[in-house]
């Protein structure tokens, strides 16, 4: 459940931000097809009417244009309606039912109107029917003629809708596929960036150097160091952007890391850790606290010739877990540099996982220390 959280989050985000841009292009396409379709239909009808019927051409033209104009307006109204009610998302049988119903709702008044004009004669099926039913000399009754006109329009509107939904469906399918591949790429990139920011070569090579030194000095500690180094490396390589683990597990990673660092720094690095039991079950993004601790050593204690005390403390506040990492740091003029790639990455991850519910602040209000304050909701 939780693993999929950032994906759906991203999905809705891209969805919300997309409509302003996309419809303009699809709208354009719609108007072109709409005008082209109705335009050619009317033109054919006018030509056919003038050729076949003994009626002044101007009258014919006006009548066809009025009828098809109404059809044009009706189809546009229909489009607005089906778009608002997302017919495209309906299962096929339901959609088909609605398409036919809509065809008749529009077709009935238009067919009635058509029967009142000269154009009706154009669609009068009498001659054709008489071929099959020779007894139909008197022609069709008026009510049947009305019905046929309505039928005619209804079929036209069903065809219109089928073309419309095929076009829209195709477009949505394509953009969904595109979005999917774009999202997969973005996620990959984010994961790669995370890995790069976490795999700190300076730390690993120095740690290996320490291990080599310990092999001859203190074999037992060397064994221990190799185990811890392997754990740290494994977590670094395996951890994913969206994985959440209990604070207690994250603290194991942090302790392995701190143990290795104190082998390197010896008495320059002193640590104080306070994690109450009730806080240790809250789930936090994997390797995030570790990043903060690494920063505290890299930019703080590692920069001080005499070293210092690194303090990690956790507490439950209302419905959130608050973790603080405090470290002494050299007094420098520009503090702006301290917002490195690690911190930026950590913030990105929090936003993806918790939206606005989590926060990460770096407090450098005191000149000689820095406090990273992480706040994670208990029930995200």
């Amino acid at each position: 459940m939780k693993v999929s959280a950032p994906r759906s989050e991203m999905m809705t985000q891209t969805h919300q931000s997309e409509p302003p841009a996309a419809p303009s292009r699809s709208d354009q396409m719609y108007w072109i097809l709409q005008c082209l379709g109705w335009g050619s239909y009317s033109t054919l009808r006018i030509i056919a009417a003038i050729a076949a019927l003994e009626v002044p051409w101007a009258t014919m033209t006006v009548e066809v244009l009025v009828l098809d104009g109404l059809g044009f307006v009706a189809s546009h109204a229909l489009r607005r309606y089906v778009r608002r009610n997302r017919w495209i998302d309906l299962p096929i049988p339901q959609m088909a039912g609605r398409i036919v119903t809509a065809g008749f709702i529009v077709g009935v008044p238009l067919g009635f109107l058509t029967q009142l004009t000269h154009v009706a004669a154009l669609q009068d099926a009498t001659p054709m029917l008489q071929l099959y039913f020779p007894g139909l000399n008197a022609g069709l009754t008026l009510s049947v003629r009305y019905a046929l006109q309505m039928m005619n329009w209804a079929v036209l509107f069903v065809i219109w809708q089928v073309i419309y939904f095929i076009a829209v469906g195709l477009r949505e399918y394509r953009s969904a596929r595109l979005k999917q591949s774009e999202m997969a790429r973005a996620l990959q990139l984010a994961e790669l960036r995370l890995l790069k920011s976490q795999l700190n070569p300076h730390f690993f090579f120095n740690a290996l150097n320490t291990v080599r030194s310990l092999i001859s000095e203190n074999p037992r500690r060397a064994h221990d160091a190799v185990t811890r180094l392997a754990n740290t490396l494994r977590h670094t390589l395996r951890s994913r952007q969206d994985e959440l683990i209990p604070l207690s597990q994250e603290m194991e990673i942090v302790r392995d890391y701190l143990e290795l660092e104190s082998m390197r720094f010896e008495d320059r690095l002193r640590t104080e850790i306070f994690v109450p039991i009730d806080a240790s079950t809250v789930r936090i993004p994997v390797m995030l606290l570790q990043t903060l601790v690494e920063n505290a050593i890299k930019h703080g204690i590692g920069e001080l010739p005499e070293g210092g005390l690194l303090r990690i403390s956790a507490a439950l506040e209302d419905d959130a877990l608050v973790v603080e990492v405090e470290n002494p740091r050299p007094i420098v003029a520009n503090v702006l540099d301290s917002e490195g790639i690690g911190l930026r990455n950590a913030r990105d991850r929090l936003r993806l996982l918790f939206g606005g519910g989590a926060s990460l602040l770096l407090d450098v209000s005191r000149p000689d220390s820095a406090i990273a304050r992480l706040r994670i909701p208990r029930n995200p």
């Binding site: 290996l208 080599r212 030194s213 000095e217 590692g302 010739p305 070293g307």
Partner: protein, 234 residues
């Protein structure tokens, strides 16, 4: 040959000491964990060689070199910053990657030893080469190749071939450490390298004008003129 190990991590220093035990001609005379300690040790122990880490608290290995008067031979030891060493304009520096490969260490030391055989022991109270860091660039500048040193406030600008690196110390401080046989204070603003003089002219005002090879004309101040004449027997 005396060597100094400079690294902020104690295990790394001990490991290097163990590796260097195989080279009997090399004596490790001291260790330092930051550049403050290191610069004091360099001035007092006058080592011939530095094993120098780059990333250290309180200042980098480069910072150390630029504050030293006498820069001994340097082998950088680094976990990951070899690109920083490679960025040097002059290929005078060697580097080793930590954990150090014993074979590579042996190679570096062999190169160093063979280069030393041809070198005469330098006179200790004058500067012969200087480490300059100017913006992005770092150089080891052999002072005999510098034609002119000009004062720029509290700094000094070297004329070294076509390069003009700025040195982080004043002309007066520098003058005391220069070889008097080679360098001469021409006036308040400039020190010239006597080996770079092309010709000397007497100006209309009675002053001496020195034309430097590939360089500008420098006027000798009235106060220094007599000394200049005796030095160069003009």
């Amino acid at each position: 040959m005396k060597a100094l190990i400079i690294d902020d991590e104690p295990p790394a220093r001990r490991e290097l000491r163990r590796l260097l035990a195989d080279f009997s001609w090399l004596e490790v005379v001291g260790e330092a964990g930051n550049i403050e300690q290191a610069s004091a040790l360099v001035e007092s122990l006058l080592p011939d060689l530095l094993f120098l880490d780059i990333q250290m608290p309180g200042g980098s290995g480069f910072d150390l070199l630029s504050r030293l008067d006498h820069v001994p031979d340097v082998i950088f030891t680094t976990a990951h910053d070899e690109h920083a060493v490679r960025a040097f304009e002059v290929d005078a520096l060697d580097y080793l990657l930590k954990p150090i490969d014993p074979a590579r260490l042996a190679g570096s030391l062999a190169r160093l030893k063979s280069a030393r055989v041809h070198d005469t022991e330098p006179v200790r109270n004058v500067l012969d080469q200087i480490f300059v860091r100017d913006g992005e660039h770092c150089w080891f500048v052999p002072l005999q190749e510098v034609s002119l040193i000009s004062s720029e406030g509290n700094y000094s600008r070297l004329s070294w071939g076509t390069r003009r690196p700025l040195l982080g110390r004043g002309l007066a401080a520098l003058e005391q450490r220069l070889d008097p046989e080679r360098f001469f204070r021409a006036n308040r603003q400039q020190i010239i390298n006597l080996k770079f003089i092309e010709h000397v002219e007497m100006g209309v005002n009675g002053r001496l004008h020195v034309q430097l090879k590939e360089g500008p004309e420098v006027e000798i101040s009235r106060r220094q003129a007599r000394l200049f004449k005796s030095k160069t027997s003009v």
